[in-house]
């Protein structure tokens, strides 16, 4: 059997990779995808603990997080399309209309 801490290590590894993607990449779409990766890492944690205590509440929370990810992806991609239409670019550091 696999100790629960291994799931935690996997989860935090994925989370850290996601954070790295968010803070270093310029492409907005990749940043959004890295956020999905982070949400996904959280789900592993929830499900692993759910298995540990033998209750499905962790699964329910994971479902909520997936719902949230869906909402976030829809709005985020809508913003990206609107942004691309106006500025013809996908680079995050050129999103500086409010920076004076």
């Amino acid at each position: 059997m696999i100790p629960t801490s291994h799931y935690l290590f996997l989860s935090l590894g994925l989370f850290t990779i996601g954070v790295i993607g968010v803070v270093t990449r310029r492409n907005v779409i990749v940043i959004l995808m890295s956020i999905e990766l982070m949400l996904n890492a959280v789900n592993i944690n929830l499900v692993a603990f759910s298995r540990l205590v033998g209750s499905v509440e962790g699964h329910v929370f994971a479902i909520f997080i997936i719902t949230d990810a869906a909402a976030e992806a829809a709005v985020g991609l809508g913003i990206i399309i609107a942004f691309f239409r106006n500025r013809e670019t996908l680079l995050g550091d050129e999103m500086d209309l409010l920076k004076w």
Binding site: M1, L8, G18, V19, V30, I44, T67, V75, G78, L90
Partner: protein, 168 residues
């Protein structure tokens, strides 16, 4: 034995594809590796006896959200973006901070492992049948959060439509 093989296989697959997502130059390839990472996570869910969550992950994440991503990438994809610098100017600082965060989390788990009750997991029987149990909990104790989630989805849907409209 089989359990271990399945878990470590999917774990390694998930981590490798996650690294690929962050490092690939081509956005479509990033998206494909993200799909792989999500499916590997789904495999881990299955190994954790979360059958229903496995299929939710496959249908919603891999089959829904990622299709949206790929669709948008194809709509906006520019060949120019392949030749641009992929990492921003403060990438080294960001990387450093992210690694510090990762190290912190690792230490927290590695040290705190002794204090947490991370002993034997409960018998797998308690999570079966997955679909029925999740349904019962979702519609009894968590029915209010469930409704709120549906409102969130509605808001997101309207928001996305408004955003993507040419003229508001």
């Amino acid at each position: 034995m089989l359990d271990q093989i399945v878990f470590y296989f999917f774990a390694v697959l998930a981590v490798i594809s996650a690294v690929m997502v962050v490092t690939r130059r081509n956005v479509v390839q990033s998206a494909i590796f993200l799909i792989t990472a999500l499916l590997a996570t789904a495999g881990i869910f299955l190994q954790l006896h979360a059958e229903f969550l496995f299929i939710v992950q496959v249908i919603l994440y891999a089959g829904g959200i990622m299709v949206l991503f790929v669709f948008v990438i194809m709509l906006v994809s520019l060949d120019v973006s392949l030749n641009q610098v992929q990492f921003n100017r403060q990438w080294w600082l960001g990387l450093l901070l992210a690694l510090v965060l990762g190290a912190q989390l690792t230490i927290a788990v590695a040290v705190g492992r002794a204090g947490l009750p991370l002993g034997e997991p409960a018998p797998a029987k308690m999570l079966e049948p997955s679909t029925q149990l999740v349904g019962r909990v979702l519609f009894s104790e968590y029915v209010l959060p469930f409704e709120i989630a549906s409102i969130l989805l509605l808001v997101a849907m309207i928001g996305a439509v408004v955003m993507a409209k040419k003229k508001i």
